[in-house]
């Protein structure tokens, strides 16, 4: 039981143990709960960093034990899992800090932070899962641990949102389970392999493989908010800001997209999926989602709902990237997995700041907010420019590689979709920036809770927002440096293709 066995378990344990302890903590022990959360997050970043460093040195970390006859529970740290694990652990630290600040006087925080840590554990599990079965286990655990967060406020609307959320995700989970069961009965072991495992399936079973592919993608598509299955995402906006930041930027939506990436690359293998001809329809679905999401975002008047629909469209970039046959498309998809996370977290933090400090929920109430809350508005501007895909933010890098990948794989219309969606993003983000910076303050703030003392709002809320904004710019500017997510994604992409 050397280090390589216990390291993945340790990463999971940091949040599982914290969750258990926090559940037991009485409500009034705020400081202890906060410090416990922060320590857990920092320890997790340390462990993940150590593993990333290890993976660079081709060291293998794997936990494997038999779960059922013929089924193993596998946690493995390969390059792809470290990409997602890295993103989650870093963004988690910021979301935790933000949540501590956000829920300053809110009731039942023990329950909130307990499920919050459970969510981390399941996201880490999804990242580290070594085969489809373990992935499914943590995928469903994620649903269960995010439901209480969605209904945390206990109002009628949040309960309705929770019910819709469950209806979508549980049905998705059932479809996924049937898909995986079919695949297991056909192929046996479901371990992820660098270039996919299904190449040597006899050709007469390819029809069934396509059906299984559709089942898997539908199951995962619910969480990845592909168009017909995204209904839960805008409704779940009723949850508190750290939860919507968590749901839409780091955990749930990313889990779905990451799952699709895993299925396409590590189960089917990109060459085999291209041979099966499933990539083009997948790209089509992703393209439809991108455009549809952007159109819907245009029509929203609520700030968070507009961000939600923007997430629906942005996540499909990742799916689009994985559907483009060629290393460039892969790099684009993978790197967007990170970039979208960072940018979307920034935007949601800003939305949360506006709501918490000035009580702004509607876009038209944002007039002149740039004056009153300059730092948050600058962060929002950086995030928005990132979403539009303007350099030097990280968004440009992923759009650049997705464009190149589209041309490399011969789907020129995909470039058209990318450009059109950038224009649409501009169409629904620039008016907000216009209101922030160029409009004078018309009426009093709807509900100004936090007065502008030394900082424009509570430092707990401000620091993560600014930090993630700096991250967005940083990953953009330092894109070509060896440590950047771009180089890590290219490292993965090269391995995904047959030599």
């Amino acid at each position: 039981m050397n280090l390589s066995f216990w390291m993945p378990v340790a990463v999971l344990a940091t949040s599982l143990v914290t969750a258990m302890i926090i559940f037991l903590l009485p409500e009034r022990r705020h400081t202890l709960r906060g410090t416990l959360n922060l320590i857990a997050a920092i320890v997790k970043i340390g462990l993940v960093a150590f593993m990333i460093f290890g993976v660079m040195q081709q060291q293998s970390f794997e936990t494997r034990f038999a779960l059922l006859p013929g089924i193993d529970f596998v946690l493995r740290a390969d390059a792809m899992s470290m990409l997602f694990a890295g993103l989650s652990s870093v963004l988690w630290l910021f979301t935790t800090i933000y949540a501590i600040g956000y829920l300053e006087h809110a009731p039942n925080r023990s329950r909130f932070f307990g499920f919050f840590s459970l969510c981390v554990a399941s996201t880490m599990g999804i990242a580290l899962a070594g085969n489809l079965f373990t992935f499914l286990i943590f995928f469903e655990m994620l649903t269960l641990s995010t439901y209480p967060l969605v209904v945390h406020r206990g109002t009628k609307a949040s309960l309705q949102a929770g019910r819709t959320y469950l209806r979508y995700t549980l049905v998705g989970g059932a479809v996924l389970l049937v898909g995986i069961a079919l695949l297991h009965s056909m192929v046996g072991s479901l371990d992820f392999a660098e270039t996919g495992t299904l190449r040597d399936v006899p050709s007469e079973q390819h029809g069934l493989l396509i059906i299984i592919f559709i089942l898997l993608i539908t199951g995962l598509g619910v969480k990845a908010a592909l168009v017909p299955l995204h209904g839960w995402l805008p409704i779940a906006m009723v949850a508190p800001a750290p939860v919507s930041a968590l749901l839409h930027a780091v955990a749930v939506v990313k889990a779905g997209a990451f799952g699709i990436v895993r299925v396409v690359y590590n189960v089917y293998g990109i060459e085999f999926s291209a041979q099966l001809g499933v990539l083009i329809p997948l790209a089509a679905v992703a393209a439809v989602t991108i455009l549809w999401g952007s159109f819907q975002a245009l029509r929203q008047s609520g700030l968070k709902r507009r961000l939600a629909y923007s997430t629906v469209s942005q996540v499909s970039y990742i799916v689009l990237g994985s559907a483009l046959f060629g290393p460039l498309g892969t790099i684009g998809g993978l790197v967007h997995l990170l970039h979208q996370g960072i940018m979307k977290v920034t935007l949601f933090f800003c939305a949360g700041n506006y709501a918490e400090t000035l009580g702004i929920h509607k876009i038209k109430e944002l007039d002149g907010a740039g004056q009153r809350m300059p730092l948050t508005s600058i962060a929002f501007t950086i995030g928005a420019l990132g979403m539009i895909g303007l350099p030097p933010t990280a968004g440009f890098i992923s759009k650049w590689y997705l464009g190149l990948g589209a041309l490399d794989s011969g789907l020129v219309w995909v470039l058209g979709v990318l450009i059109l969606s950038s224009l649409l993003n501009a169409a629904y983000f620039l008016p907000i920036l216009y209101r922030l910076w160029f409009k004078p303050v018309t009426s009093a703030w709807p509900d100004e809770q936090i007065k502008a003392a030394r900082f424009e709002t509570d430092p707990w809320l401000l620091f993560p927002t600014v930090a993630t904004a700096v991250f967005t710019i940083g990953t953009g500017i330092l894109a070509a440096s060896p440590l950047s997510p771009l180089s890590w994604a290219s490292l993965i992409a090269i391995r995904e293709y047959l030599p």
Binding site: P69, P107, G162
Partner: protein
């Protein structure tokens, strides 16, 4: 302590304690019961350890020969079920210590009935001949009816009567089947019967009658009417024991009859009919649970629904390939275990909630997640296993059943299982959405923390089954009825 002494000990301990606990006066009762539980647990675990190391063994009581004497067999399957019973009994007893403080009058008669129930269960698991099973069933039935009628309120007495009449009718049908079998084969020992059994008309009739009787006692779909009031109305530890163990024993006998003895005599269409009954149970139970307004009735109807899954064993295991049958058998056993632990945990957790809120109405439980987080967390974990969501034992069971359905190419059961788990999610999450409601608060009575701890331990075992499913499955392999029985290799590839 060889198996020779251990196996009868498992029967003797509960019987002795049953009688003595009647005599013990009030202050000593808890200590005495604790001693009994400890002994019982030690005996069960040591037997399972012995079986695990040395393999299956059996002892003849008073070593009389089989046709007349009673043979007690302890193979892998029996030991797994014994350990299940021991675990649940120990935890329900611990729960009962603190729960019955609020019910002094019931406490006096709870313990003797508890021990009789335990004796009957151990008797059924260990028995290897049909008539001994009949005796076990009867003892179990009477003890269970006694427990249901403990509170002596009008509803509980009506429920007890209804349960008793149904149980008696069922056992008589079973006895009739036994009589016919004895008439045509001259022996009742399972081992000999399975070799002699031939598929003629009388055997089929006998087996059908026994199936009818056992279906009534397992409260399967058309005959489920007595279960919800009985399990819903009873005290929390009682309903936990009933739902987790009692209904399972008659199913266990049904499974052994068909898979062990009557594999040759399976009339065409029976497995499919049983499968259909199971599906109807899942759907009807889920619908009634979804519309139940009382939380205990919701959980009781959930038992009716979950029992439907057990019936899926027959279409998956009879006249299908070897691999499919084996997977189905493993799946069913895993479901038996997981449902036992999860339903036990859920009834205990719900019992705490009802005790604290002083009302069984679901709407009165608004916002309890703030006051009773641990009880709700236990309920949550149990719900996860019942819904068959990973990482729980329920999920492994669902996975095995789906695999077996895939191997035997019967698609319909996959759909049934998936839809069933979604429906169970629908009604189980009702409690959650109520518990998260902020706003009006009923003031809650303080409850003993041990109530939560026991419920949580059972729930955690149900979840742990998901991770350590291999242990019971490998334990079960030792001398299971299935592998060596000559399965017809007909049916789909």
């Amino acid at each position: 302590m060889t198996t020779l002494t251990l196996i009868p000990a498992l029967l003797l301990i509960p019987l002795v304690f049953a009688i003595l606990s009647l005599l013990v006066t009030r202050p000593w009762r808890n200590a005495f019961a604790l001693l009994g539980i400890a002994l019982q647990a030690v005996a069960a675990l040591s037997l399972s350890w012995v079986i695990f190391t040395e393999g299956a063994s059996s002892t003849a009581l008073g070593n009389w020969a089989v046709p007349l004497g009673i043979l007690l067999v302890a193979d892998g399957l029996t030991v797994t079920l014994l350990t299940l019973t021991a675990f649940i009994a120990v935890i329900c007893a611990l729960y009962a210590f603190f729960y019955l403080r609020a019910y002094p009058r019931e406490e006096r008669y709870f313990w003797p009935l508890f021990w009789f129930l335990l004796a009957a269960l151990n008797g059924i698991w260990l028995a290897d001949d049909l008539f001994n099973l009949y005796v076990g069933l009867e003892l179990l039935g009477l003890a269970a009816v006694g427990m249901v009628a403990l509170q002596a309120t009008q509803q509980s007495l009506a429920a007890a009567l209804r349960y008793l009449l149904a149980a008696l009718f069922g056992s008589l049908m079973y006895l009739l089947g036994v009589a016919l079998l004895y008439g045509s084969y001259g022996t009742l020992a399972m081992g000999q019967l399975s070799d002699l059994m031939v598929g003629d008309l009388t055997t089929q009739i006998a087996l059908l009658l026994m199936t009818l009787g056992l279906l009534i006692k397992t409260a399967c779909f058309p005959f489920h009417y007595w279960l919800p009031p009985a399990h819903g109305g009873a005290l929390a530890p009682v309903s936990a024991l009933l739902s987790a163990l009692v209904v399972k024993s008659s199913f266990y006998i049904l499974a052994r009859i068909w898979l062990d003895l009557g594999t040759l005599a399976v009339p065409i269409g029976l497995p499919e009919v049983l499968g259909l009954l199971g599906t109807c149970a899942i759907l009807y139970g889920a619908w009634r649970a979804y519309t139940a307004s009382e939380i205990k009735m919701l959980v009781a109807w959930s038992t009716v629904a979950q029992l439907g899954y057990l019936l899926l064993l027959f279409p998956l295991a009879l006249n299908t390939t070897e691999a499919a049958a084996h997977l189905a058998w493993q799946g069913t056993l895993m479901h038996l275990l997981a449902h036992g632990f999860a339903k036990g945990a859920m009834f205990l957790a719900v019992g705490t909630l009802v005790l604290a809120a002083r009302s069984t109405q679901l709407s009165d439980l608004a916002g309890i997640s703030r006051k009773l987080p641990m009880a709700l967390f236990a309920y949550g974990l149990a719900a996860v296993s019942l819904m068959g969501l990973p990482p729980s034992g329920g999920f492994s069971a669902k996975w095995l059943l789906i695999q077996s359905a895939l191997h035997s190419g019967q698609w319909v059961w996959i759909i049934v299982i998936s839809v069933g788990s979604l429906l169970s999610a629908a009604y189980l999450f009702r409690v959650f959405s109520v518990s998260f409601v902020e706003g009006k608060q009923r003031e809650l009575q303080p409850t003993h923390p041990m109530l939560d701890v026991t419920a949580l331990t059972l729930a955690l075992i149900a979840i742990a089954l998901g991770f350590f499913g291999m242990i019971p499955l490998s334990l079960m392999e030792l001398g299971t009825p299935l592998p060596e029985s000559p399965l017809p290799t007909g049916g789909q590839p």
